[in-house]
Symmetry: C2
Subunit: 565 residues, 2 copies
């Protein structure tokens, strides 16, 4: 059997780091998985099943050494939304549809590898991603308030309606539940911040700091479960609990492959795959660069694809690399995917022997775990930054954010992509054009609006700061013609092409047209500073023949010298 | 009343040109209109009604002095396709739906003016337009063969099915019809080519040449009508004729404004408006530049918008500026929109007194008129040109062409737009990057792969030939990091930014990230030749603070001098 590189190259010194990280991640993963299952509207065991086999597959096929795969917030939210959209409410159908969804996600990721279209995620701009993630985090946090306060709010409502219902029913909260929920929030916060600072001050054992400070979820789960159990809060006070989880490992399943279901799930599966891949690659890259390692995007597609298929056939739902968990893994000292294999083993052990312990686990505690996990994802910094640097980016971000909040996750991401691309095209369709003149007696030519330069009324030297392509050909024609109409003494137009890396067929026709129209007006067109690759393509064209090779100059200065009277 | 400029500035000397052009265009327009009506599946009077009031409105509000508005081939084809798509077969419903469509087209054009989004047509690249027009022309020509040969082929079939049916039924042609059809084709060709050459040789009277050589359609109509009438071909030989046209001018109509109909028509109306506007502006611009006049795209929207609304309320269907007709108008010496007003008057006169004469007009002659009008639109030159210059453009053109042929006109144009934009984005997501070195002892730095240059192993000078934006941030990071990994002696990376006109928020974050990662590796990042507008935006950012203003150089040479050991 062909073993992955990390197995053959494994060093003994790496073992302790992997062991510690593996255990810590398991401690984080078990409660977080169940919480994310709750978010997707699925029973807790589905989420736990997603945390065993997928981890092993990713360890074999993935390229990141420290990415911690499993259920994640965004994909759980999107899975839940898909199930609601398809109007599936029967719990068995929900679970079986979730398996099918994971299978589709896995197949789409593998297909993206085969078709070499992984680069498609490049078309999601950072502000769009940030707007999308922020709004999703807000929706996720909002969706957990009902669990934390013990309110009865239906699933699948738009964010503003949920918020309205929560506020209007605030005083109908279940007191015992609210105490558990808010208490858990406090406990989680205390572990995360004051305890972390305290530990930092008193010990330099990094693994110990990581272990204790990341045990917040475990502590919340243990404390709240004990409270419910000993006080009988589930029966006396109606505190919602997880209830019985079937013990043991998942059995293999063949997901439902009905054609009509596959067709209905396809668009959602595509977006879930895209988001999962995007999230995993971003996290993986950010960790890899800190250790001077490299992420292979193609291997990532295979790693995540097989992990999702593994999830589908072992009773799970869509998985990806999780941000918080991967950070825990990384900072607890994981050196190789062995850490993930250890995590998977511990989750499996939990399934075999510990599930009865979760019977009295209150949903309020899980809700609190989710809220604390997603709040750092709400990203006001990028908005502020984009707002001051580039309003159009801030605008795309806000459109994405509000579309996710008001309509839904899928519409939001589609609106964001369309906005980004549309604004980019719009901008490049109206490029910056500078009229340049000579700086003193140097060979330098600069924008007449920015520098004190000399110009010649017989020569118009114009620099176009953009590739020439179909969307700006009309702009180019209009700009040249307007300058020509404004200047009756003009004999020569010099287009400076040092910013032009590409001229498409439409723009070539436009240049030909401009040449023809200038000629009719008794004006000669010249080109200067054409880049090598552009000239290579132009050489073979009729346009260059018509223009005359003698009208093409290496530098603006040469052109100006030659054309001076 | 506020009169258009051309009225207040009118010179007497312009009158004769307008008069002659107005008459010639009317002679061309009457048979052509009826033929286009046939193409749309509408009765001939609908097309004639579209050739009266719309011309007057365009004369008042349009900006081109010589654009000849009226029914055109592409819009007739699209109108016909829309009616078939909506499954409207009853002739009265077809006519009333065509009015509503014209109204929507007019309103959309006016809305485009209000929203200032006329520039949207810039996103149609020349190859896509050419592919679209060529395929449409082929479909139009194909659709007329049944009229020319007297075959019974249903409307609305895909092109390949129509072609198959025509070939398989070729020997069931109606002989008398075929003789009229093919005879008309020959007559039209003879007027267009040999007669034109003959006249050119024997007279220098341009107006006379235009008048006679453009009278082909009139001649075909007169000869074929007389033949049918005297030989009774309609009854004895079953030759299809136009039949009775209600005499008189159209009465005013309020188009059907039912919400469900409007909603169904909207997508088609949008595309028809776009194509009509595009066609009119292209023709208008090409004529205006020959006379050093200017087309105001905004006024065009108003001119065409009001013309279409006028068509809707006077019993017509969507109109635009026609290529052939406008060329006739222009070369026959039209000086002002008065020519169009004269044309409109003559069409009105035709409606009042001449309609009985069209009773015996065979449809075969009209089919021949259409075929000769659209064949020049099939554009193999652009394909050949694009193929040798830029394969991706040729590919977009072919996709558009075949989608129009195999699926339909609307899908074709949408596929073309998506292809053009997608390929453009894909290209700019993998920009050209050059590693540069010093040319001799000059201040010039050129691509090491193209020129013999000196480099320094401690300094990597890299020129990126593209704006930096979300789609190429990953490429940028990977490229820089790969070069860094390949060169262990490296101390400095200089990014040469003279081709960068724009850095978006995503790319700014990437630069920040690259800076951070290089710093960790003990390598310093520098920027050179940043353009004014880009620097203006960068100045206020944290990135520049972190980078240090001293690491930004005006020229590559300055950077290299400063960094040399």
């Amino acid at each position: 059997m062909l073993l992955p590189n990390w197995v053959t190259d494994y060093k003994k010194t790496e073992l302790s780091g992997d062991l510690i990280a593996g255990v810590i991640v398991a401690v984080v993963l078990v409660p977080q998985s169940m919480a994310y299952g709750l978010l997707a509207g699925l029973p807790p065991q589905v989420a736990l099943y997603s945390s065993v086999l997928p981890l092993l597959l990713y360890a074999i096929f993935g390229s990141s050494k420290t990415l911690a795969v499993g259920p994640v917030g965004l994909m759980s939210l999107m899975t839940g939304a898909t199930l609601i959209e398809l109007n599936i409410t029967n719990i068995e159908d929900m679970v079986s549809t979730a398996h099918t969804l994971a299978l589709l996600v896995g197949l789409i990721l593998l297909l993206m590898r085969v078709a070499r279209v992984g680069a498609i995620i490049n078309f999601l701009s950072h502000p769009v991603i940030s707007g999308f993630v922020s709004a999703s985090a807000l929706i996720i946090a909002l969706s957990q308030i009902k669990h934390i306060l013990g309110l009865d709010i239906p699933r699948g409502l738009p964010a503003y309606e949920s918020a309205y219902l929560i506020i209007s029913q605030l005083f109908q909260s279940n007191l015992a539940t609210a105490i558990i929920g808010l208490g858990s929030l406090f406990l989680l916060w205390a572990f995360k911040s004051p305890l972390f600072t305290f530990l930092k001050k008193h010990t330099s054992n990094e693994a110990l700091i990581q272990f204790i400070s990341k045990s917040g979820p475990l502590a919340a789960v243990v404390v709240s479960t004990l409270a419910v159990y000993y006080m009988g809060l589930n029966t006396h006070e109606n505190v919602a609990i997880i209830g019985s989880i079937p013990p043991g490992l998942p059995s293999f399943i063949l997901p439902n492959l009905e054609y009509s279901l596959l067709k209905e799930l396809l668009p959602s599966a595509f977006l879930i795959a895209l988001i999962g891949y995007l999230e995993s690659v971003s996290i993986g890259k950010s960790m890899a660069s800190q250790k001077r390692q490299k992420i292979d995007s193609n291997k990532e597609l295979i790693g995540l694809g097989t992990a999702n298929i593994a999830s589908a056939i072992s009773g799970g739902y869509p998985v990806a690399g999780g941000f918080g968990r991967s950070m825990v893994n990384f900072s607890a000292g994981a050196n190789s995917p062995l850490a993930s294999i250890i995590t998977a083993g511990l989750v499996a052990l939990t399934l075999i022997i510990l599930t009865p312990l979760f019977f009295f686990l209150p949903k309020a505690a899980l809700g609190a775990i989710i809220v604390l996990a997603v709040i750092p994802l709400i990203d006001a910094y990028t908005l502020k930054h984009a707002w001051s640097y580039d309003r159009t980016d801030a605008f795309s971000m806000l459109v994405t954010f509000f579309t996710v909040l008001i309509i839904d996750v899928e519409s939001g991401i589609i609106a964001g992509i369309i906005m980004s691309i549309g604004l980019y095209l719009f901008r490049s369709s109206q490029p910056h054009v500078a009229i340049v003149g000579q700086v003193g007696n140097t060979e330098h030519y600069r924008n007449i609006d920015r520098h004190k330069v000399k110009t010649d009324e017989h020569i118009l030297a114009m620099r176009i700061d953009e590739n020439l392509y179909f969307a700006n050909t009309n702009f180019l024609e209009d700009t040249v013609m307007t300058h020509v109409a404004d200047n009756s003494a003009l004999d020569h137009v010099v287009l400076i092409c040092n910013s032009i890396s590409y001229i498409d067929t439409s723009a070539l026709e436009s240049l030909d047209d401009i040449h023809y129209r200038l000629e009719k007006a008794g004006i000669k067109l010249h080109l200067a500073e054409i880049k090598g690759p552009v000239m290579d393509k132009l050489k073979q064209t009729e346009f260059i023949e018509k223009l005359g090779a003698e009208n093409i100059y290496l530098s603006t200065h040469q052109a100006m010298q030659a054309l001076k009277k």
